[in-house]
């Protein structure tokens, strides 16, 4: 576990050093690879787009946040992680894992404007789009940085978990633009977590565009609620 951590930190530092910036422009995400020279595993530099796993020998794109094309891709990714022997939680400790992780997140996020929802086997953090991002941009709002910092730290400790970041938009505007924006926003958050030391293999981004509203798109309030990013944390455990 701690070996993993160190490797991640090293990788992140390398990326930060070589790109000169932790936050890549949203437009470039998925199309522009990080500088390969800094990587401990230089054979990467693959295309992360549309759920393709690239052409690496182990099937993971190094230092690139994975963008899932659909829900099925998430399930497969999750299974692959388990099959590949990723850090996981013993089945009889899943409940305990979720309880203490929930408590830890509450402790660390106390006073922050984050909605935390605990389900039996998943914790969902919801960030309103208006607070997390600049308007119509995947650029993360400066206020979000500390929250993502905290999440990075906690998720690094609780490493036997899969983090799915789902971007959502409202139904106004062109569908394609919305789809793209939701993907970019998800990727942006994912990349930020990665920068905080969370292994890229545990992070999945997905964009749902306007397809999964949680409120009425006919009202301004509903639209604001629909523009959001959901961060879903699941324990990695054999099912």
């Amino acid at each position: 576990m701690s070996e993993n951590l160190h490797r991640n930190i090293l990788a992140t530092m390398a990326v930060v050093l070589l790109t000169g910036c932790g936050l890549m422009p949203a437009r470039e995400t998925g199309t522009t690879a990080s500088e390969p020279a800094a990587e401990p595993l230089p054979e990467r530099a693959a295309e992360a787009h549309n759920g393709s796993t690239g052409d690496n020998s182990d099937g993971y794109s190094r230092n690139v946040v994975y963008l899932a094309s659909d829900d099925q891709a998430i399930v497969e990714r999750r299974q692959k992680l388990l099959d590949d022997g990723h850090e996981s939680v013993a089945l009889d400790r899943v409940g305990f894992y979720m309880d203490v992780l929930t408590a830890r997140l509450r402790q660390e996020l106390a006073g922050r404007d984050v909605d935390l929802d605990r389900a039996d086997r998943a914790i969902t953090l919801t960030f309103p789009g208006s607070q997390a991002f600049e308007t119509n941009s995947a650029e993360i709002h400066p206020d979000m940085a500390p929250i993502l910092g905290i999440l990075g730290r906690v998720l690094d400790e609780y490493d036997a978990s899969l983090i799915t970041i789902a971007g959502h938009t409202d139904s106004t505007g062109a569908r394609e633009f919305n789809q793209h924006l939701s993907e970019q926003r998800a990727l942006s958050v994912g990349r930020h977590l990665h920068d905080q030391g969370v292994a890229e293999t545990r992070i999945i981004a997905i964009g749902y565009g306007p397809d999964r509203p949680i409120a009425d798109n006919d009202t301004l309030q509903g639209q604001a609620l629909n523009r959001r990013v959901e961060l879903r944390i699941e324990p990695l455990a054999a099912t």
Partner: protein, 522 residues
């Protein structure tokens, strides 16, 4: 008449019983309430203390977790472990303190084997980030269900049994709930009813034969305590007081009833026995001579009744005369005495009517004509002249009505002389007596006793004598015991006397002899 008397009797009896039972019941109720209140206070205090102890322990644990998270030392270094150890050792109820990374216990003080420290479901996850696992099967180690609290990187395992000070509990069954979830029961494994089933305070659960006390504390978080005690123990605790006072009360009631019953039974049986005695002429009569103070000659005698019961107990006239009057046999009694007098002294009375016998009559005798008719008949049968029977009426029984006055007058016309008895003890004035036709005034013994003692009464007697003489009444002084009294009375002009100075009451034979002797000596 007898039924009215019975009714009164029953009423008196009933009131007596009620008057005793009501205070007794009230006393019992008061004692019971007192016991309940005392028990309530005792259990409430106990519960309060237990609740406060638990509250303190939980708050202390919470503070400890806060402090642990600020420890600067390198995790799991000797310094770090020492600090954990100190924290655990200074608190008796802490079984283990652990430092965790995610779900792995990296190190700690105290160790708990198995999965007891990683239960599958938390009881509470607070917004502050504190997680708590209430004691339950999943936190059970070696038969003890632990209470776990975790905050940040640290957890604390508490043995809930040690939250309760055993000394306080004695042999009580106690259950303690924190935030509505069972925290601990004493003794271990005791099955206790849920506190929801009971009202706060003390409940006497007769169906289950137990006393249940519920106390709730809600300073920082709700704590509910149930203390259960078998009814038998409650009784044991308070029975001595209840039984002591109760039995004392019952004894008093019993004694009181017994005395009342005995008194009434005695009275009732005495009355019926008296009726028997009258019917069968079983009363005896003795005669106390009345003497001429000047000459010492016998001037007659007062007939005094004696009643000897079958058990040889002698009942005084003061008892049976009033008993006879109470039970409406006054006239029967008088007539029985009359018959006795005539039987024993008939011939002498025939021969010497100048030496009459005084017969005591009662107010009842004058209330109807029955007595005077019977008297006439008896005297006729015995052939004794009316003048040989002098009638004594007590001042108190003399009713100032026309009927009574007429009857006295009729008796007197027939030849009977009338004496007023016990004069001076009633409240009537002499002028009141004047309205009756009387012959003799008998001055009560108390006045004779006072002679020579210069008491107020001795002053009064002089006045009585003066006034009696002015009414031309013969005067008989009763209860004369000394020559000095005789002398004084004679000087005052009192003609006759009666008392131990002359003779005690005598049987008929003795009286005849006495009469002869006193006649000869003169």
């Amino acid at each position: 008449m007898a039924s009215r008397r019975d009714k009164v009797l029953f009423a008196v009896f009933g009131v007596t019983v009620l008057g005793l039972l009501i205070p007794l019941l009230l006393l019992g109720w008061y004692l019971w309430q007192g016991s309940v209140v005392a028990e309530e206070q005792r259990l409430d205090e106990l519960s309060q203390r237990l609740g406060e102890q638990t509250e303190r322990a939980i708050i202390d644990t919470r503070d400890l977790l806060d402090k642990l998270n600020t420890i600067e030392a390198t995790p799991c270094s000797t310094e770090h472990l020492n600090k954990l150890q100190n924290a655990a050792m200074s608190r008796p109820y802490i079984r283990a303190v652990g430092y965790w990374r995610a779900v792995e216990r990296e190190c700690g003080a105290g160790f708990v084997q198995g999965d007891a420290l990683t239960p599958p479901q938390a009881s509470r996850i607070y917004d502050s980030g504190v997680v708590a696992w209430w004691p339950g099967p999943s936190t059970k180690v070696g038969g003890v269900e632990l209470f776990l609290m975790r905050y940040g990187q640290y957890d604390v395992a508490i043995d809930p049994r040690l939250l309760l000070t055993p000394g306080l509990l004695e042999d009580q069954k106690v259950g303690l709930w924190v935030e509505s979830m069972p925290m601990v029961a004493h003794p271990s494994g005791a099955v206790l009813p849920n506190y929801h089933a009971f009202e706060p305070g003390l409940t006497v659960d007769r169906a289950e034969q137990r006393v249940v006390s519920r106390t709730s504390l809600g300073t920082l978080f709700p704590i509910d305590i149930i203390a259960v005690q078998p009814m038998a123990q409650f009784w044991q605790r308070y029975l001595p007081t209840l039984a002591g006072v109760g039995s004392l009360g019952l004894t008093l009631v019993g004694l009181w009833l017994f005395l009342i019953l005995r008194y009434f039974r005695h009275q009732l049986s005495l009355a019926s026995e008296l009726r028997e005695a009258i019917a069968h002429d079983q009363l005896q009569v003795v005669f106390q001579p009345i003497v001429d103070l000047e000459t010492g000659a016998c001037q007659g005698a007062e007939a005094l009744a004696r009643w000897r019961r079958e058990n040889h107990e002698t009942i005084g006239p003061d008892v049976f005369v009033s008993l006879a009057e109470e039970t409406e046999q006054g006239t029967d009694l008088t007539l029985a005495i009359l018959r006795c007098v005539l039987r024993e002294l008939g011939p002498q009375l025939r021969d010497r009517p100048d030496c009459p016998v005084n017969l005591n009559i009662t107010g009842q005798d004058l209330a109807s004509t029955r007595f005077s008719e019977a008297l006439e008949r008896e005297l006729e049968n015995a052939r004794v002249p009316a003048c040989a029977i002098k009638l004594e009426i007590t001042e108190r029984s003399l009713l100032n009505t026309d009927d009574v006055r007429q009857r006295i007058k009729a008796l007197r016309t027939r030849g009977h002389r009338i004496a007023i008895d016990d004069f001076g003890t009633g409240y009537s004035s002499l002028s009141y007596l004047e309205s009756f036709e009387l012959d003799t005034l008998k001055i009560d013994k108390t006045f004779a006793d006072a002679i020579g003692h210069e008491a107020v009464t001795s002053n009064i007697i002089s006045h009585i004598i003066v006034m009696a003489r002015s009414l031309k009444l013969n005067i008989v002084a009763e209860g004369i015991e000394s020559g000095h009294q005789v002398e004084w009375l004679r000087q005052q002009g009192v003609g006759f006397g009666q008392g131990y100075r002359f003779s005690r009451p005598l049987t008929a034979d003795a009286f005849r002899n006495w009469c002869q002797q006193s006649g000869e000596s003169k």
